[in-house]
């Protein structure tokens, strides 16, 4: 409607005498935009509500063999996928008889966390988030929620993922 080399001043185009060409945002239009944003927020809340009704019960997931007990040395990790191929997880052997496993998705912006032997913490390299190895709680950085923990069971020689806690 307005070309770069238009000869009339900007105010004449924006406050045009033709109702079809008026370009300033009226108060009514702006208020309408705000109310539409409010509607979108409300719809978002409803979406969360619906998802929470249909969410599976915490922990009631199929069990899956993820490793043998001697596959991983003390202080070493194994990456696996549980419950689906898309959910990446990390298994850490912290001591002779202690294994912990967590979802690898950082609770900040879903970068992959890794285990740092030097500091004995789970680190997220993207924004320097740190999680404790023993229970997945946040030690430092932007994440607010603890890492979802994979519940482990032992059956003889095998380590079995039996559910997720905290997600």
């Amino acid at each position: 409607m307005r070309s770069p080399d238009s000869s009339s001043p900007l105010w004449k185009d924006e406050f045009s005498v033709n109702t079809a060409d008026e370009r300033y945002v009226t108060r009514r239009q702006f208020s309408k935009f705000l109310v539409l944003t409010s509607t979108a927020m409300f719809v978002g809340q409803l979406w969360i509500l619906v998802k929470s009704w249909f969410a599976p019960e915490a922990g009631a997931l199929p069990k899956q063999v993820i490793a043998r007990r001697d596959e991983v040395d003390i202080g070493e990790v194994k990456l696996f996928a549980y419950p689906t191929e898309a959910d990446h997880c990390i298994l850490v052997r912290t001591a002779e008889d202690k294994y912990v496993a967590y979802s690898q998705k950082c609770t900040h912006l879903s970068c992959a966390v890794y285990y740092s032997r030097a500091s004995n913490k789970l680190e997220c390299p993207c924004h320097k988030g740190f999680f404790a190895v023993d229970d997945g709680r946040v030690l430092a950085g932007p994440p607010t929620r603890p890492l979802p923990q994979i519940l482990l069971e032992t059956r003889g020689d095998q380590l079995i993922a039996a559910g997720i806690q905290g997600a």
Binding site: S31, L34, Q45, I48, L49, T107
Partner: protein, 80 residues
């Protein structure tokens, strides 16, 4: 104050009312956005109990915003 607010011309009074109402809408919107982020945070952490009360409060805020929008429009039509 040096002037009687009741004696201001209707255009100025209407504009004051519209400005106040629009500011209120904006503030309520910020509250609603915060509420959404907080609910999402708690949902992702596995706590599903907050979803229903948050949805109800969000709905109430939305209705209030809508009422204020209707108010702004009616004053705008009358006075401008």
């Amino acid at each position: 104050m040096g002037y009687d607010p009741a004696k201001l011309p209707p255009q100025v009074r209407g504009l004051n009312a519209i400005t106040g109402a629009m500011s209120l809408i904006a503030i309520l919107l910020i509250v609603q956005i915060w509420l959404l982020t907080a609910t999402l945070e708690s949902y992702l952490a596995g706590r599903h109990g907050a979803a229903l009360p948050a949805a109800i409060i969000s709905g109430v805020i939305f209705l209030f915003c809508f009422g204020l929008y209707r108010f702004v429009n009616s004053i705008d039509r009358k006075v401008r």
